[in-house]
């Protein structure tokens, strides 16, 4: 199960962050998810990985562009990121977030301040930060179903056992 709403301190990253920067290709030859969590963002800023647990990750536009590697979103989930917020996402990254049960919100005007508390709610498509409320792009009912099941694995497990 994934909680579709939550609160956590912001970790701000830049625009056009590609999936090679989220998890470098040299760490892909393993099935051990903790390796990806440990090395997340290593080439962008090696001090980021330890700060991800319980955070709300706020990126600039075109978050997750580049390779389709799902290990990128698994790394973030494994590292304890609660949700990812950006003005726009590369579409495969966006799909992958939903598929691994990592809440994802498309929010245009949010100005990120490191460590500021952010509250998000995927069911209403809203984000609150610094006393301001923002409206985000909606998630389709299918996406919400997959997300709240905890990702595509749990979603299919549930459907196949019915």
């Amino acid at each position: 199960m994934t909680l579709l709403a939550g609160t956590g301190p912001a970790v701000c990253i830049g625009e056009d962050i590609d999936t090679d920067l989220v998890i470098a290709g040299r760490y892909l030859r393993t099935k051990d998810r903790s390796v990806w969590a440990e090395h997340a963002f290593e080439d962008l800023d090696p001090t980021l990985a330890p700060r991800l647990r319980g955070c709300v990750l706020v990126a600039g536009k075109n978050m997750g562009c580049g390779s389709s590697r799902e290990q990128a979103v698994m790394a973030l989930r494994e590292a304890g990121v609660l949700a990812v917020i950006a003005p726009s996402f590369a579409r495969i990254f966006y799909r992958n977030c939903i598929n691994v049960g990592l809440p994802v919100l498309e929010c245009h005007d949010l100005v990120c301040k490191d460590a500021e508390m952010i509250t998000y709610d995927c069911t209403t498509g809203t984000v609150n930060a610094g006393g301001r409320s923002y409206t985000c792009g909606p998630l389709s009912s299918r996406m919400q179903e997959i997300l709240s099941a905890g990702g595509l694995v749990e979603y299919w497990k549930g459907r196949l056992s019915r």
Binding site: D43, N62, G66, E70, Q71, V73, N99, L160
Partner: protein, 405 residues
């Protein structure tokens, strides 16, 4: 309701639709991951194995025994489940699928971002991640959001020494790395009927570099004649007058000159002439963008009877491309010129093996993306056409192909 995406998916842009998948493919990278996820789902079997392909290209042949173990597990699973399986040396998944395995009007999903390549056939072809592939294995379906479309109108004809890759770099720059996010590109205009399939594949391949879901061409005589070589037949697709586009750009081929994407962004492009003389440590000709027979053959024409001045790696996109280059003498020309030939596949494109760059080295590649550290930690590399790559290989510096063709 008039764009090719809307016609194929049968719904209005912006709506969500659950689609049965005609062809689904993954490679040794995403396939390993998809199998882990598929096992977790606990499904009784693959819904439609005949529509599924597993194609080894990314780290193929295996570079370490760890990779070999992962390969073995997926290979056994693919064969046991009755999926199509292409082992090491068959070629890059996108090119392998382009060899008569995708038809106009189909819905094609690949677990790789460059699956948009197959939009060249008028198929709705797009990339997904490993979980989505596992979901397709389980159900034979997936959800898709019907995209809005961007029209790219092409007119005129290319000048000698300039290639469709230069046009691809030009449109990605014009749109920007996220200029077409969530949208489909449609290639239209007076010149499309004269653009051969290999050029279309190159142009569709780079659609994702502008964030697009796919890069579509309406099936026509070029498509029909190309597919006929693989014993496939198809009918033409008509451009509908009621189609509406969120954005339209116009590009005249006569205005395009040889281009380079400079480190580390695909959408930061400069004319080759502005960077001529930049010293290089390695030239790489290959990938799903530009590793086809025609690409190798243009490079060979420039290198014929001469010697490269810098290490030059050539990796054919598929076994069929390799064989054609071998039989036509193109391969011999490249070897005589001092190039090293790697087995068909992705080669050093993703920085895993067979031509990874060292720290501080500068490379020139015919690939589609030049993200930081991708082809070697601490290295930087430029992207160009095969002609520019070959011309540059001759001097060991970035060089304008118009001076040697």
């Amino acid at each position: 309701m008039g764009t090719l995406s809307e016609t194929i998916l049968g719904a209005q842009a912006g709506s969500f639709s659950d689609k049965r998948i005609d062809k689904a493919f993954c490679h040794d990278g995403t396939g390993v991951q998809a199998k882990v996820i598929y096992d977790e789902m606990g499904a009784p079997g693959i819904a439609n194995p005949k529509a599924c392909y597993v194609i080894y290209d990314h780290i193929a042949p295996a570079n370490t025994s760890q990779t070999a173990d992962l390969h073995r597990e997926l290979r056994e699973f693919a064969i046991r489940s009755g999926m199509h399986f292409s082992d090491v040396g068959g070629g890059i998944c996108h090119q392998y699928m382009a060899e008569g395995r995708v038809l106009p009007g189909e819905v094609v999903i690949g677990a790789d971002s460059h699956s948009c390549t197959l939009g060249a056939f008028g198929a709705f072809a797009t990339g997904v991640g490993a979980s989505d592939m596992a979901g397709i294995w389980v159900s034979g379906e997936t959800w898709l959001r019907v995209p809005e479309s961007v029209a790219i109108h092409i007119s005129g004809s290319l000048v000698k020494g300039v290639e469709y890759k230069d046009l691809a770099l030009a449109y990605v720059t014009e749109l920007g790395m996220d200029g077409a996010t969530y949208q489909a590109l449609e290639f239209l205009g007076d010149s499309v009927s004269s653009i051969p399939m290999e050029g279309r594949l190159t142009l569709s391949n780079m659609a994702v570099e502008a964030g697009a879901k796919t890069g579509l061409w309406y099936a026509d005589t070029v498509t029909r004649e190309y597919l006929a070589r693989f014993g496939q037949s198809c009918t033409d697709q008509e451009v509908k007058p009621e189609a509406t586009y969120s954005k339209e750009i116009h590009i005249g081929l006569d205005d395009i000159e040889p281009m380079l994407a400079v480190p580390h962004r695909v959408d930061t492009v400069k004319p080759v002439s502005a960077l001529a003389g930049t010293r290089l440590d390695q030239v790489f000709i290959g990938t799903c963008t530009n590793g086809r027979y025609e690409d190798l053959s243009r490079a060979a024409a420039i290198l014929d009877g001469k010697q490269v001045a810098v290490r030059t790696i050539v990796t054919p996109a598929s076994r069929a491309d390799y064989l054609k280059a071998e039989k036509s003498g193109v391969m011999g020309t490249l070897v005589e010129a001092g190039c090293v030939i790697c087995p068909p596949g992705c080669g050093p494109c993703l920085g895993a093996h067979m031509g990874v760059l060292g720290e501080g080295e500068v490379g020139l590649s015919t690939a589609n993306r030049n993200f930081k550290n991708r082809m070697g930690v601490g290295a930087s590399y430029y992207l160009s056409s095969p002609s520019t790559a070959a011309a540059s290989a001759l001097t060991g510096e970035i060089a304008d192909p118009r001076e040697v063709v």
